[in-house]
Symmetry: C2
Subunit: 202 residues, 2 copies
Amino acid sequence: MAKISKKELIIEHSRKSFSKNGYELTSLESIAKECEITKPAIYYHFKDKATLYKAVVCPEFTALAEKIEKNTQDGDAVKRVQNYISTFGNFLISNPDFSAIFAREIANGSANIPDECINQLSRTIKQLVNILYAGESEGVFSKESPFLIQMMIVTPLISCHTSKPLRERVALHAQNSKISLEPNFANIIDSLSTKIIKGLKC
Amino acid sequence: MAKISKKELIIEHSRKSFSKNGYELTSLESIAKECEITKPAIYYHFKDKATLYKAVVCPEFTALAEKIEKNTQDGDAVKRVQNYISTFGNFLISNPDFSAIFAREIANGSANIPDECINQLSRTIKQLVNILYAGESEGVFSKESPFLIQMMIVTPLISCHTSKPLRERVALHAQNSKISLEPNFANIIDSLSTKIIKGLKC
DNA sequence: ATTTCCTTACTGAATGGTAAGTAAAATATT
DNA sequence: AATATTTTACTTACCATTCAGTAAGGAAAT
């Protein structure tokens, strides 16, 4: 097992708890217990709960922005949008705690999110703006609000993860219909990508 | 002013608070203050916080299911999908507290949502399943996971409302680009509708 | 001798929920 | 019609718990 500092251990457990339970329902006492330390040990490493949250979420948003920028530079606009979507989708797969954290932030108007993350998020969106603008110049995309496109990409993918318990409950109440088919996430990414591209094209 | 029972007054203020602050950060004391009563008065009308929440959310999900069913019976599959989307969008406009409540429920895996709401939600989704199936039979839609389509409709529209503060902060960090254009919600509904239909067609 | 990295023990504030009592309205009884 | 009784719709006062955050101290490494 890789050697990991206690500070990083705290961050890992915190990330899981913030993702599973949300900011309010995450207690520092329970995180401490999971790390097999005591609560003030957390306060030794982090000023307060908000700072710990920041240490959890900032690297995630930064990593996302970097992957997006890296993977959406080349190709025509269609290809770049496809890469934007698949990069985001694969990021959600490799960062399984991110979906719920991001979904909560969208739902509560980014109340807990630090400015640094907003900065990273705006890098991501700027990239999408550039791609859409390139698509217009190429004459393949009609003019569209980048904000809506961003929402059409990000929120369905995120919600695929977070709404799983909700879907399971709905499936119980609708047994005789075809809702119960649980889709595979890789397929979802592809399928969403196809539809968004179709929707964007003139 | 229409006469309103104290019980309904409590529900109205609760709805606003649950929407604005979320379940955890909504304190019954603060609701009581807004209603100009005391906390135990709330407990006279409602067994506990969960029951109050139920009284707030159930009518919303029921009203949504009824409007959806009512407005998506007639016409061809394309028309019915358009009506599904516009009915949902207009519901969000006329029920301004619903977006945040629903978004939070999706984000936290429906932890607070009562079974009765799940029932209403499954009515809504069954209707979409029917429409998509009709579209396949008509030969105009390709086979698709209804669940993904539901997510593609519901989550972007909801997030348009809840992410407004987030967008404003992003706009501050991206002043020199074109992100700042704040789209009009009625236009968003139309635009989303067009794109989803394009994406669904064979 | 000092800094690092923790521990035990604690405080204060917020909050869900309850016990007990009360004024007014509705209902039953004389 | 007048009076007694019960029910409705609350209030004041309080309890129990949870939780963010702190004070003070200690062992080990530097």
